[in-house]
Point group: C2
Chain length 224, copies 2
């Protein structure tokens, strides 16, 4: 197998072709790892399941990643990065009001690209290992922390704007985090019975209860 087969036959060799090819190969392996984990779990994911999916040789994994463990960590980082990019790009429109931005964060959390069954399965595989693997825990909590900070700041703005009393921004942001995680799990455990739409409704219901001057309850007819 040649790097030409991954770069594409129509692309001209560039100065960075070797480097680009190396990145593409790494991504290919990481994508295969995600597929493997979603299909077999972490415990059932071996170098063989990954390379079978990627259609590459066993040795190539160790050429690109120091060890299986390194591959797994890089896979989690990739997931986390993708997730982070999703909600951050929702905030780039500086014309949005705080509640619109907060709504965008919620939307991103349950975006089909992020909140797919495959991705959720991988996320929870890593959560399942996180209790005794500090490295996974750190990767996860770092991205949680950033989103929580941003959400908290947005809540502060909403609270100021709406003169809400007895509402603490950080507290609300923490509730949101709990709801995000809990509904991710419910979507995973109840395929077809608890959907992304259900989760969005629930979160928006919570927002409406908390900030009634900024968020409306989801319409009853929207619920399934």
């Amino acid at each position: 197998m040649t790097y030409a087969s991954i770069v594409g036959e129509n692309e001209k060799p560039l100065k960075q072709s070797r480097s680009a090819a190396k990145q593409a190969r790494r991504k290919q392996l990481i994508d295969a790892t995600i597929s493997s984990i979603s299909k077999h779990g972490i415990s059932g994911t071996t170098m063989a399941t990954v390379t079978d999916i990627a259609r590459l040789s066993i040795g190539l994994v160790n050429f690109h990643f120091k060890s299986k463990e390194a591959l797994l960590e890089e896979t989690l980082k990739t997931l986390a990065q993708e997730h982070r990019e999703q909600w951050r790009k929702s905030l780039r429109n500086s014309g949005l009001a705080p509640e619109e931005k907060l709504r965008a964060i919620v939307q991103a959390q349950f975006h089909p690209q992020i909140c797919s069954r495959k991705k959720l399965a991988v996320w929870f595989s890593f959560f399942g290992e996180a209790a005794y693997r500090g490295s996974y825990r750190k990767i996860v909590t770092d991205i949680d922390r950033e989103r929580w900070d941003v959400s908290g700041e947005l809540c502060r703005q909403i609270i100021n704007e709406g003169d809400y009393e007895n509402v603490e921004a950080d507290y609300v942001a923490k509730s949101l985090e709990g709801l995000f995680d809990g509904f991710w799990l419910n979507i995973l455990m109840y395929p077809g019975k608890f959907t992304r739409t259900d989760a969005l409704d629930q979160v928006h219901n919570f927002m409406a209860l908390t900030f009634p001057r900024h968020f409306k309850h989801p319409k009853t007819s929207d619920r399934t």
Copy 2:
């Protein structure tokens, strides 16, 4: 090793000693499995890690359980049963009002015996495998279902009693489930930073938002 060493030297042999001993041995193995999973995760749990902790021989596991997989399933069932017993016993006092019963269910969810770091680690290890193992998923969703039904019924009573409009019992019960799962994960991921007390506060805050005539907001001073 004899059954006398597990039954205790002071206990007289009873007609069911063999049967009781067999159950005690099974429990010993299951407890060791819980310890092993919490320490090594499911992927790192082998027959050796389990028997090392239990101080029993490798062969004994297969004497009592058909396979490693059977041991794992039985372990999950044991966890589930323990959890179920916790919240059900909270409801045995028939003198409680519906909101007191609902509060008891919430308390049970974060009871130290149930919501210990060790137990949570095991729960999430199984959740991590649940996406591709229908058997684990079924065990979990069965006990979820029961609790959701009871919570839903209690919410209905509260709604009727308090004349709450635009509040759907099943909807609220589903939010509660999400919060339970989400805060379990947060407790696991943020040891010492997000505690059972924090989780209880958050859930009670949600209850107060939803049923303001039955639940009060946790006092600000109670928050850490």
